[in-house]
Amino acid sequence: MKSTAANFEDNAEKALADDKLKAALSKLSEGFPAKRREAADRLPEFESLRDQARDIKSHVLANLDFYLEQFEARVVESGGTVHWCRTAAEARTTILRICRNAGAKTVTKSKSMIGEEIAINEHLEHHGVEPVETDLGEYIIQLRHEPPSHIIAPAIHLSKEQVADTFRKSHPHLAPERALEEPRALLEEARSELRQKFLAADVGLTGANMLIAETGSIALVTNEGNADLTYSLPKTHIAIASLEKIVPTLEDATTILRVLARSATGQDMSVYNTFCTGPKRAQDLDGPEDFHIVLLDNGRSKMLGGEFHDMLRCIRCGACLNHCPVYKSIGGHAYGWVYSGPMGAVLIPNLIGLDEAGHLPNASTLCGKCEDVCPMRIPLPRMLRSWRTQQFEAGKTAPLSRSLLRAWAFVTARPWLYRIMVAPAVSALAALGRKGGRFRRLPLAGGWTKHRDLPAPEGGTFVSRWNRGERPGEKKP
């Protein structure tokens, strides 16, 4: 996907002006956080499960080469193939090659953020292979030619009326007067459209929520069951996953599943949790004959051991988006690339560069809510700040903010100077504002006064007034 992260400010402005988006986002923020809270409260050991989940991933990251090799060996033993791909381009080429070898005309696809990251749909289409998204949300945005706006709820930015509209336009063979008001009707229509596609597909392309080293299995988690049809009906199954999706054992995988669903949607468990191991065996009734895993690096190995190492623990649950006041204000598209919210603001600059995505780590109040809810206890605010430090040290902070900041720092590191310089300015402002109590407009403060008044200073500085012996009393009875 082509990034528009550099236009973050314009993207955000557009998003803020979009009333339909505002309504959709307010539904999201009423729904997911409350459900997560309830799910967490139902499970007394939720907090200690988070610790366990974090420790599993930390251990994996410290021994990544070992577990990846173990995983590959098990996949090969069970009759599958692992393709190591360093870049998005390598992964695209590999997937297209497998599709061609399978003589594929259509590929069904279950939701995969890595699929978005490497823009596999465009690549397949370009080479004459038709990709069909089978997750309801992904299906909708594929029809609309839009990127996902949320890592687990890709069409969260749309209302059901917008979806109905899209279906009417995209399914011209159906009766125009059919009723599409109820979500149920939309679901039924998507389902019947997709049924044929499932049966006709030559290749099934899935992501993988986890890769399990001890068995060579992949874990697929959905609420719609579409991943199960995607991988089991066609002759060839390709799973794409990035390196850090690995966990040592099935036991570890279940620990992570327990925090994943609760953090994501507030479910105790997602509806379909499938472990696929290798191609169909002689005694199996169904399943693919060919099983491929495309293992993607695409910048992950560079993150190992560095400031963003812990980000590799992320299990893409979406909790940090659901709880982020910035995400809830502007939605996912404003971030301008595949990922969004706090995890996106940390990850995107790692994947497409800080020059392109420099706004993202700055567009946060560092309120800390994301870290608070992240099941993997990833210190997201600390990492956002790390990006800012890199920008500052590389001289890429906006020149005006940079000089103002440095001036403020220079003065405040020398309190005597601060007293001489700042106090008179404040007194002047206080004198100016005393009558009205506040300013509606003020030179150089346009950023502040665009949406809010500025309370006027009271007058004098506390430190000097105190040290002059002033002691205002209590209020008069």
Binding site: T365, T449, H451, D453, P455, K475
Partner: protein
């Protein structure tokens, strides 16, 4: 109060630059609360800002220089107390992080961090304040500022203290723990996003029907007061210390003052 540390503890009051420059009342209120709790309060003249704007903007070198000044000035006190969760959080958590690679300063930063507290939590958790003598006639709602809540564990303490003020009725907002959109320089760098966030906060406050908004951080308060007033609301906005110290005669934030005052 039930029980205080044996000796009268010496407090370095870190007023914070916002209080120092824009709302001295909060400093006086904090000092009074600490003195009433049995502390010996000093306000070192060599203080300014905790360095958070620099730190959060990625200017670690300047943040370190400011931190060194604060450490030098305040390390001699038994405790450092700030009427702000955000500035106290900066000293408590981020000063040590700034000196990770400098053993000598790290030790000094840690020593200061360990004795630095946000005002209301210090009064409750350390000084065990109980039985404040204050009254405030109003329905108040409380905004939990992000750093206070998530870095300093301030949630119950200000409410416990407000419970001791006669006449106060507390009506909590659903989204009391949501960020108000201030975020230091964030609010001027991304004014429209910040504007949407503070609007949500204001909606939540208005939904409580309270006539007064209180919080423990002046940054949030200025932001919220500014938006309330832009929207024509007459909800009064004060730092919680003003109510606790019974010092609510002066104008609330953004309210016109009387000419005779300094």
């Amino acid at each position: 109060m039930s029980e205080t540390p044996a000796r009268q503890p010496s407090i370095g009051l870190f007023a914070t630059c916002l209080v120092d420059l824009t709302r001295p009342s909060v400093g006086f209120a904090a000092a009074k609360l600490l003195e009433d709790a049995g502390c010996k309060v000093s306000v070192p003249g060599q203080q300014s800002c905790c360095g958070q704007p620099a730190y959060n903007s990625g200017d670690a070198a300047d943040a370190r220089a400011i931190a060194q000044t604060v450490i030098r000035v305040f390390e001699g006190f038994d405790y450092v107390v700030a009427p702000s969760g955000s500035c106290a959080g900066m000293i408590r958590h981020h000063y040590p992080a700034l000196f990770e690679n400098d053993a000598k300063w790290l030790a000094r930063a840690r020593a200061l961090a360990d004795k630095t507290h946000e005002l209301t939590s210090f009064l409750v958790d350390v000084m065990k304040v109980d039985g404040l003598e204050a009254d405030y006639d109003g329905v108040v709602t409380y905004h939990d500022s992000c750093s206070g809540l998530r870095e300093m564990g301030v949630r119950d303490q200000p409410r416990a203290l407000l419970g001791q003020v006669s006449g106060v009725a507390l009506k909590e907002g659903e989204e009391r723990e949501a960020c108000c959109g201030f975020g230091g320089l964030f609010c001027v760098k991304y004014p429209d996003i910040s504007g949407r966030m503070v609007d949500a906060k204001v909606d939540d406050i208005l939904a409580t029907g309270a006539d007064t908004l209180l919080a423990g951080d002046l940054g949030c308060l200025m932001n919220i007061a500014g938006r309330l007033q832009r929207r024509g609301s007459d909800v009064r906005v004060r730092h919680v210390a003003e109510v606790l110290a019974n010092m609510t005669d002066g104008p609330s934030l953004g309210e016109p003052g009387d000419e005779s005052k300094k």
